[in-house]
């Protein structure tokens, strides 16, 4: 790697191509994820009903809907975090890069090294800033100190927080503000060089200024990553996403280009929700 300080999307794309042939920019609108007839139950509660949804490469897909509509459940299903709830039952399939993630032989840990996640509330580990970012690479077997340093620096830069923390990398992450913690969590997620980043209402616990920073960051990140973002904030969806899927009562009501959804939605329910008539 020639430059550590600059972010050159073209350069990293080329690298990507060399290493993993599945990611090609010749097929810019290839679906990363394909959800087919997905149903999910929490015990007796039918939380997701027959979901069919493609998610495309290098796009920001926003998922909106009133609370309890299943949007958070859905995004947690994409990296199978939803299975932490013991009573969950799932049918149907989700294809990630053409492989069904519910397949018996599919390793969930491997999926999660390709699909990063940012949570509703910032959840840094009670460790130093450096250790937080280095956690993922270390877990995956990277021991080389110099390499780790580079990864940490680059990830922090990628998450636009490097300038704020470069002088206190070895202080506890809990000394950071909420907005900084969230960007640190994004950096932690970038450190494992994911293909997709899932964001579950990443700004809901942040103040407006920090929210704006994260939104700018998302715009920057989409050059290199495919992003799925759950948000309850429709302006946010309109500002940052390319596609928007509207969830209601566990179903996908509409999934379209964002401009389209916010100007001329097909479904009355979408229009009602967007114009603030419910939810």
């Amino acid at each position: 790697m020639s430059s550590l300080t600059s972010f050159d999307p073209e350069e990293s794309k080329e690298k990507n191509e060399n290493q993993s042939p599945t990611i090609t920019k010749d097929r810019p609108k290839a679906p990363v994820y394909q959800t087919k007839a997905l149903n999910l139950w929490y015990g007796q509660t039918h939380a997701l009903k027959d979901i069919n949804l493609p998610i495309f490469e290098n796009e920001v897909t926003a998922i909106i809907g009133p609370s309890g509509c299943g949007k958070s459940t859905y995004i947690k299903t994409l990296n199978r975090m939803v299975e932490m709830v013991e009573s969950v039952k799932i049918s149907g399939e989700i294809l990630y890069r053409d492989k069904n993630i519910f397949d018996k032989n599919y390793r969930v840990e491997e999926l999660r090294t390709r699909v990063g996640m940012v949570f509703q509330k910032p959840n840094p580990f009670p460790k130093t800033i450096f250790e937080n970012v280095a956690y993922g690479p270390k877990v995956h077997g990277i021991r080389d100190k110099k390499l780790l340093k580079q990864i940490v620096e680059n990830s922090l830069k990628g998450a636009a927080i490097w300038e704020e923390v470069k002088d206190r990398l070895h202080e506890n992450a809990y000394g950071l503000s909420g907005g900084q913690q969230q960007r640190l969590c994004i950096a932690r997620c970038l450190a494992i060089e994911p293909d997709v980043i899932l964001m579950d209402e990443p700004t809901s616990a942040l103040d407006p200024k920090s929210t704006l920073k994260v939104e700018e960051l998302v715009q920057e990140l989409k050059k290199n990553y495919s992003i799925v973002i759950v948000t309850h904030n429709m302006q946010q969806a309109a500002r940052i996403s390319d596609k928007t899927a509207f969830f209601l009562n566990g179903e996908v009501v509409e999934n379209e280009k964002t401009d389209f959804i916010f100007s001329t939605p097909n479904d009355n329910r979408t229009e009602d929700y967007i114009s603030g008539r419910f939810g």
Binding site: N79, M81, M84, E86, E109, E110, L111, R112, T113, G116, M117, F119, K121, N123, P124, F125, P126, K127, Y135, G136, K138, V139, H140, Y174, C185, R188, C189, I192
Partner: protein, 310 residues
Amino acid sequence: MSERLNVKEAIQAKRKNNKSVFVEKMVPVILFLAAFISIITTIGIVGTLTYETILFFREVSFTEFFTTTDLSPLNPTDPKFSILPLLMGTVMSSLIAMFVAIPIGLTTAVYLSEYASSNSRKVLKPMIEVLAGIPTIVYGFFAFTFVTPVLQEVIPILDRTNVLSPGIVMGIMIIPMVASLSEDAMNSVPNSMREGALALGATPLEVAFRVVIPAAISGIIASFVLGISRAIGETMIVTIASGSTKNFTFDVTQSMQTMTAYIVEVTSGDAGAGTTAYFSLYAVGMTLFVFTLLMNMFATYITRRFREVY
């Protein structure tokens, strides 16, 4: 209408009753006296131990007590009073106990908090806690009549009373304490932290050892310290299975007397009040008390001082 008035009058009349006012005033005083009993108990313990220990040190020097290695309190011609053999017995048996209790207790906690489903946890946890409810005399019986003979099959040089067997059994007795306190500490690590690590592709093992345990470390260490304190104060297991040889050695296949077992031996023996052997009870009791108190206070301190703020 008239009935209602009667109720009102009745209440008014009761209000004026001096007895109930008196009761209201007296109750807190009486309750305070009840609460004060616990303080008196502490004063009683510290007081008697200190008083009789001072009497002991009038007859036996500090240097003899803490630096020599001979202990023969009931020798009629030349009694010797050193606590070191007893300290050795206590330290060795507690060490063995912790060698058993710490790894098994901690891994039990990891299994219960990180691997077990909530259903199996509901079954396993109370079953393990049964171990803590068995009277120590039963463990003593078992160590002496079963564990020692079994160990003798493996280690032929093992004496009939030895430190190894009660040490191991004591460790098993302490497992529930270490496991349940460590598990409490791990359970208080928020789930968001586990999610964060799992989402990076960490396995449950890596989540446990690189996130949960480091985050819960103060509570875990406190559980170890309390376990050690418990082992130091344990009496019946070592009294029965470790014997009463006042042995200053590192050889755990031999009989060694602990501080607690010494107290049992001297109190159930013929040492009359006023003899040096009788006073030595309190000097040993004092040492035991100070040790365990320091450990307990240390455990409280680390849980308070290093409580993680998530």
